[in-house]
């Protein structure tokens, strides 16, 4: 699905995210925030001292965690998910130039796609970490079915990957705050044609064909 440049305002703009994507992003972000806030007292128990009703905190964390992948899966599944599915293809299949760009840490020129390779890597990493957290977290809840050694392993993995995804999300937020036009597009859906021509020429070309 492509969107013709719209000339309603003087500035020519193109659609970066549709409503499905925007809603999915913010629901996902809100769920991440709930998981993070509830994880802190569970993880740093001895630092925070008493957390009233740890059991309640634990239940909120558990059910939010189990439901966490749903918004993204739903956004991909239906007839409304065409754009989500096309992003999935972007994240999955890379050009040789993108691989080189990432290996050189961005020091070579690139006719960038809608997302640069760093953004693509971020998306793939977060998605795969969600799966790892879901599986290891479920093992901690239904530990009876696993050996003691695997329970210890699952705890280790859950803690390590949670810390990793936290660091990555902090970086993601920092990038968003320093790239305001892109941050705005996560609310409105639109970016200027100028931005697209400069920063995502491959996408711009494809989108305006």
């Amino acid at each position: 699905m492509t969107t013709a440049p719209s000339r309603t305002h003087e500035i020519v703009r193109i659609l970066r995210f549709d409503r499905v994507q925007i809603v999915t992003h913010w629901v996902n972000a809100a769920m991440f925030a709930v998981l993070l806030v509830t994880a802190i007292p569970l993880y740093f128990g001895s630092l925070f001292g008493i957390v009233l009703h740890r059991h309640v905190v634990q239940l909120v964390h558990l059910w939010t965690g189990l439901a966490w992948p749903l918004p993204i899966l739903i956004s991909l599944a239906g007839p409304w998910g065409a754009r989500m599915r096309s992003e999935l293809r972007r994240f999955s299949r890379w050009t040789r130039e993108e691989i080189i760009w990432l290996k050189m840490l961005g020091r070579v020129p690139l006719r960038a796609d809608k997302f640069n390779p760093g953004q693509k890597l971020n998306a793939v990493f977060v998605a795969s970490t969600m799966l790892v957290l879901l599986v290891s977290g479920a093992m901690l809840q239904w530990f009876r079915y696993f050996s003691v050694s695997m329970r210890v392993g699952a705890t280790f993995v859950h803690d390590t990957f949670a810390l990793a995804v936290f660091v990555v999300v902090v970086g993601h937020i920092a990038m968003a705050l320093t790239h305001r036009e892109l941050l705005r597009s996560m609310f409105t859906g639109w970016v200027s044609e100028t931005w697209a021509k400069i920063h995502a020429p491959a996408w711009f070309e494809e989108d305006s064909r």
């Binding site: 001292g49 008493i50 740890r54 999955s92 890379w94 003691v148 705890t155 993995v157």
Partner: protein, 234 residues
Amino acid sequence: MTTPEADKVNVGRRVFLGVGALGALGIAFGNGVQNVLGTVFGTGVGGLLPGGDRFRIYSITGQYPVISPKKYRLEVTGLVDNPTTFTLSDLQALPVTSFSKTFQCVTGWKVPNVQWEGVLLSEILKKVGVQPGAVALTFESYDGADSESLTIEQAHLPDVLVAWKMLGAPVTVEHGGPVRLYVAQMFGYKSLKWLSAIRVVNSVQPGYWELNGYPVNGWLDGSVGPTNPNPELT
């Protein structure tokens, strides 16, 4: 100028599967990795990192019963010759035992090499005199909610401690101080916190966690019989 699909590489899929494989490896071998990391990081600041040694603090009631060491009392009653109420200094006048052993939670986290100090439960039982017909002990907590059980045989294991020191200091209130139970060969839920009373009884009474589905005999290897088939795990 767009790149033909055939020239593209499945980088995203590879990264996705790679991270997933890393997670699976961690679940399979994280236990061994943590043993190494635990030695490197210890229980200090490193204990805050994943894989470091960190206690998760549980409380059934949502609060900690705060008892000053001076007001602390341990009541031992039931099928005994001399029902006794011990003060903390009474307990400390009994033969002191200390050792370093793992605290292993049934849900998977553990803290290796925890330093424990207290009196063996068997010493207390010797002091009060267990009567014939006694089968088990019931433990009660100052939190008013938790309870635990051990058979008389389990209570005489050489690493079941009524502890007032843990991690090299008096047992803190969050860890169940001033006095808690420590059952080295079983999962952490058996090591009742804020120990207030021991009743010697004629049958095993399942405690709080047992009534919530945990095995009555919580041996560390996961077996649930009355005796430990694998005592070297501690």
